[in-house]
Symmetry: C2
DNA sequence: ATGTCATTGTATCAATTTGATACAAAGGTA
DNA sequence: TACCTTTGTATCAAATTGATACAATGACAT
């Protein structure tokens, strides 16, 4: 019974997809790695397929008359409900064996696959990887299309992933490390106000190394990218830390 | 007369292109920015279109069953005649208005454009930018397809460029600067043996800044990436510099 | 031969940046 | 009020970087 409802929901949203497919560039997709920061850990937002214990990145296609960046933003907004997210392309995945069709068959089980979908998905795909930096607390994950639900996962404890999506996340993380911009990354991943300690945890989890508290503080303050606010009134048994905010 | 011969050559190679087009992924291309180093300047290899005073990067398409990286290597080999070149993707260009068709019409002048080509080129294109690092002295530019000839240009003195190719070169240069790896770049752009002074000129032209001779020498030697060979017997009126080679 | 000139290889010192440690100032609890 | 913990800041040593000095070399003119 429950299974039947899901199957119905699945095919219903598929109808929508089918109608829009002719307006997309064939064999080309966008995949977004959505990073968030919570509880001292770097997270990625993933979605689970109906009927399968497999998770995937949020992907989409590009309209014939649509800028690629715009397509990435649209895809992202569809799945998170927020706009104005920081987004940047980091790599193109173009191996010859990037097919999604065999996977489609599993999702559809014994339901016949519509011809439009078959023609679209049976070909090999090239995909642009984008990464997004979002304020964890502002995201309200939206399930759409073939997805049953969304959830945040620790970057180092990923579930079983679809296609080459685990590789894509790995590449995104490498890119983030290599081209780390303290202001950009902090500004987009942290909430409005935060303590120096929380900020340090962010960079530690991204770079995978520990910093010395006092030197980290000096380094960040010397950059002059933060405004110091009032001290935070903690209920903890120690001196209350200052709160900071990124200068605009 | 001369014009007529050129037109003939143009359409003859076009026949070849037409036959291969159905095996390519539509609306998707690869463009290579080929960097070389000569006479204290960073150069890019460009090709000139027949009948037009417009130069372009070397581009190509991707076979349906071909890895994207392989397609880039193939394209590069077609135009330079050398294999095993260092090649890396750096950006994907996906603005909605990336059309080549209007340009095609100019090239064809009043010759009718074959339908296969028309269908292929009339759509908007997405292009992956690759950059190549080659030993200037080893390249023997090969003209192919719609190109009349190839030539090296100083990165800062580009001729009139086709499409958005000037932007693509700019992006490639920015990428090269941002992710500068001293060993990688030097190893691929320098000839087998070179003096410290020549190496310094390379990094100065890439980064667009002057270094202090003595400190540059110390910095590079401290990296332990070079082997020192015998001194070079110059005909110059001063102390002969050592020759160096990158460690393998 | 000898002196001049330009360039190279190396040493050296100062200035700056980075790493490590010390310590007083809170904020809560016993 | 003593005690514990964490925070903010100062300070010193170590490492890196910037700037300058100088002897060594190779060709040429005298």
């Amino acid at each position: 019974m429950e299974n039947r409802d899901q199957k119905f929901a699945l095919t219903a949203t598929m109808e929508e997809l089918m109608r829009s497919i002719p307006s997309y560039i064939p064999q080309f997709s966008v995949d977004c790695v959505i990073f968030g920061f919570h509880g001292s850990e770097l997270k990625v937002l993933l979605s689970k397929f109906h009927n399968l214990d497999i998770w995937a990145l949020h992907g989409g296609f590009i309209g014939q008359d649509e800028d690629m960046d715009a397509a990435a933003h649209r895809t992202l907004c569809d799945h998170t409900g927020i706009t104005g997210i920081y987004l940047e392309q980091f790599h193109i995945f173009g191996k010859a064996n990037r097919q999604t069709y065999r996977f489609m068959e599993t999702i559809f089980e014994d339901t016949p696959i519509p011809e439009v979908l078959e023609n679209f998905f049976k070909k090999r795909f090239i995909s642009v990887g984008y990464f997004a930096l979002v304020d964890f607390s502002k995201v309200n994950p939206v399930s759409a299309l073939v997805f049953e639900k969304s959830a945040w996962f620790d970057v180092h404890e990923l579930p079983k992933m679809a296609f080459d999506h685990a590789d894509i996340i790995q590449k995104a993380l490498e890119y983030l490390r290599r081209s780390l911009d303290y202001k950009l990354v902090g500004f987009n991943l942290m909430p409005e106000c935060f303590t120096m300690n929380e900020l340090q945890r962010l960079y530690e989890t991204i770079l995978g190394e520990k910093f010395q508290r006092t030197n980290f503080q000096r380094k960040i303050l010397d950059m002059r990218i933060l405004e110091r606010l009032a001290t935070k009134q903690t209920g903890k048994g120690h001196k209350a830390p200052f709160l900071y905010r990124f200068k605009t």
